[in-house]
Symmetry: C3
Subunit: 263 residues, 3 copies
């Protein structure tokens, strides 16, 4: 039997909004340690990894490991029916082919049960090796989202270059070119406003803006985003979920564009 009670139900709503446009169907894996998901996007270019640790739930009961295949669009439709202050409980009986989402209003005057059919989804769990990155940029998530959106009005790809001084986002399109430089800045009033660069060697990589913009749908989950770059690895765009885990997006750089940019 599975019963996961999350007092801050809006977190789960935000998680679904952040990944539902990228992934249609996916298995949610429940174990004693947490509620997680790993899935490729529908065009098999980007990878999403979600973790909500069991400690973050008010009540967490998972008798045995279970993998529940869900259509994320339908799951999102149901979670949208939860109020932002509602407590959300995910429930599944052993061997059942359905999952139930229960929404309790803060006053307990309104209780909703939404039951959804589970799906059989073939999926291979990819091992994501721990890696050393050439450069790690931590910056305000809203700033990163704004930059990706702005550059999309000019071009299709973004070149991200990290030096000690800062991180540069560039694009080029029919109407012209754009370069946006964010300087390292740690002397800010609020720590979440800082732009912090941890760099072992300079790195310049090119990515499709379409995916970057899709990743920024996770912005409501966290005030900051961490971008980890290495020339021979997919970029990791990570949004931490306070005291619970993270949503991470992986995307391979575009090789050709990268070369072009270096030339």
């Amino acid at each position: 039997m599975l019963e996961l009670r999350l007092v801050q139900g809006s977190l789960l709503k935000k998680v679904l909004e952040s990944i539902k446009d990228l992934v249609n169907d996916a298995n949610f894996d429940c174990s004693a340690t947490g509620f997680s998901l790993q899935a490729m996007d529908s065009s098999h270019v980007a990878l999403v990894a979600l973790l909500l640790r069991s400690e973050g739930f008010e009540h967490y009961r998972c008798d045995r490991n279970i993998s529940m295949g869900m259509n994320l669009g339908n799951m999102s439709k149901m979670l949208k029916c939860a109020g932002n202050d509602d407590i959300i409980t995910i429930k599944a009986d052993d061997g059942s082919d359905t999952v139930t989402f229960m929404f309790e209003s803060p006053t307990q005057d309104k209780i909703a049960d939404f039951e959804m059919k589970l799906m059989d989804i073939d999926s291979e769990h990819l091992g994501i090796p721990e890696a050393e990155y050439h450069a790690i940029v931590r910056m305000p998530s809203a700033e990163f989202a704004r930059i990706c959106k702005d550059l999309s009005s000019i071009g299709d790809t973004v070149v991200i270059s990290v030096t000690k001084e800062g991180v540069k986002f560039s694009t080029r399109g029919d109407i012209g070119t754009a370069n946006i430089v964010c300087r390292q800045n740690t002397t800010v009033d609020k720590p979440e406003d800082a732009t912090v660069i941890e760099m072992h060697e300079p790195v310049t990589l090119t990515f499709a803006l379409r995916y970057m913009n899709s990743f920024t749908k996770a912005t409501p989950l966290s005030n900051t985003v961490t971008i980890s770059l290495s020339s021979d690895l997919p970029v990791v765009v990570e949004y931490k979920i306070a005291e619970m885990g993270y949503v991470r997006f992986y995307l391979a750089p575009k090789i050709e564009e990268d070369e072009e940019d270096k030339s």
Copy 2:
């Protein structure tokens, strides 16, 4: 001669917004007692009844009973041109084939006259008998609107079941099922937040969500909605208009679905 001056003009704007999608053309009936309307929706399934009592107007002159046929879409276009703080006056000369809406800004610096052609509309006035209802639910109107909207994302019909403990709204669709229970709750800080159930016998009825959602366009008119149910009568969904009257919507239950639900 007709001259009806309504200081809180935004009320009339809200009334029109609440019924214009349901009814295309209708007769507004003016008499010494008030300004009223009764009309079937364009597919002849739901009935709307509006009453604005003469006492609610600052000035109310209606020399003789008159029925004015109006296109509600056009009337709504004109009323949208009134500011939310404007005083609205409805004027018609005897025998005239037009009606004039006058909008005065609170400072009297801006005065607008909108004149609209009247229409000849055949309509039979249905007598709506006073009835005893099995159950009457009073609840926050925004809550009811949210429930109808949420259930529409899952199914097409709503089953409303009233017991002493509360009222349950259920639906079922391709992606799953949903049940939302609102418990009776009278110990709230603000009286308009209460959910009050007056029940003579339990009742379970099924309705098309499309119409329920249309009725909830009247939500801005009142903080509370009253739903009156009997197994052999159309449901009445009523929004009171403070100190003036009401908008009431009548809708016959769906027979088949109701049976199915009981089985």
Copy 3:
């Protein structure tokens, strides 16, 4: 070399938004006195004149007169990438076929350069003679915008009539007629709320609402609008830009409709 630094960058964003739907391509003329533009709309009916005086810039360097042809849609795309609090600098090297817009965030932590190709645009600079107007109306810009929008829901043209008492905006369409009168009113708390009429002789003129609505896109630039009318001249709709200049729109009256209205 050209280098114009505007601390209140949002002004330039608003200027572009106010004219980009009316004019596709235009020459921006830079001289020692200021940054200006004069252009006909794409259907050659309305004329736009913009002036930003050099004194309004924090830094203004323009070594020699230069005319820069720009696509206003593309320029607007780039300026939309500037934050509302950003400082905007317009830069162009002598003989260059590009212009650069630089955006600096208030904290200087984010610096963006957007480079756009210039275009060759044939344009004749029309001399606009100083004129005496029969009537000049100054009123709140939001009020004027609201009136043009409201009347558009009824008809296609607006008849503007000025008398000593006030200004009347009228229209007529399939669903009826509308008249909106704004009375002269100078005894207001805030000077920008005043409606002031300076009249030498009464005037009644008819204009296409489509253009008037387009002009009101400049509303964010100023709290007041000035409408200058003469029976034998195009109307001038002017939005002042605080301490810098103006955006002026010129539109010829519709002759036929005017006659019809007088009859």
